[in-house]
Symmetry: C2
């Protein structure tokens, strides 16, 4: 198991502006990966759907975001404490993140069913 810091502080040392989403791996095991993702107003390209081979469970720690699913009408808005379970290959995109502040996600990825 790769070990990151024993006590990472996910809401500290946030970038104030970023050209791209910042992804930081916090922990990795053979089947589980934990990441901090920081975005500042980025959204997926309108024509781009994520189609991931891994299951994902993500929670917003600060900021706000809107998710879209290809198989569902409308958007799901997420604020602090709000999570999304996205099964592998459920096509989705981040339609919006709050432009005035960093949006910080904790995201888990794993492969087994």
């Amino acid at each position: 198991m790769k070990r990151g810091a024993r006590h990472p502080r996910l809401l500290q040392n946030l970038p104030s502006s970023l050209d791209e989403e910042q992804v930081e791996e916090l922990l990795r095991t053979p089947t589980l990966r934990i990441e901090r993702i920081v975005s500042t107003g980025q959204a997926s390209a309108e024509t781009c759907w994520y189609d991931q081979s891994e299951h994902e469970w993500a929670i917003v720690l600060s900021g706000r975001a809107k998710l879209r699913y290809e198989d569902e009408e409308g958007e799901v808005e997420l604020g602090p404490g709000d999570a999304a379970f996205i099964p592998a290959h459920r096509r989705h995109r981040v339609a919006w993140t709050s432009p005035g502040e960093p949006t910080v996600w904790l995201a888990l990825f794993w492969t087994e069913a």
Copy 2:
């Protein structure tokens, strides 16, 4: 895989007072379990150390807590966004949680190394 709500909101529907910690399972796979844990001022009994067969990675979403490890002097204080990776069998206790508010944890448990 057991599927909980697709979009759980972990900082909503918080109990205002609790006699015991409240544990809610959010998702379970054969090797990974995701829980929300809410405590309102509880701490582990002073003589009791958790000695878990699973690895744990936990993050405070709201409130504050102090962790103690049997093999380490002092306490680790955690506030919102602060996480702790606790390997299996590292004996630890929750020395304190903020009494004036619910302390909400997101906790992951898994077994493989």
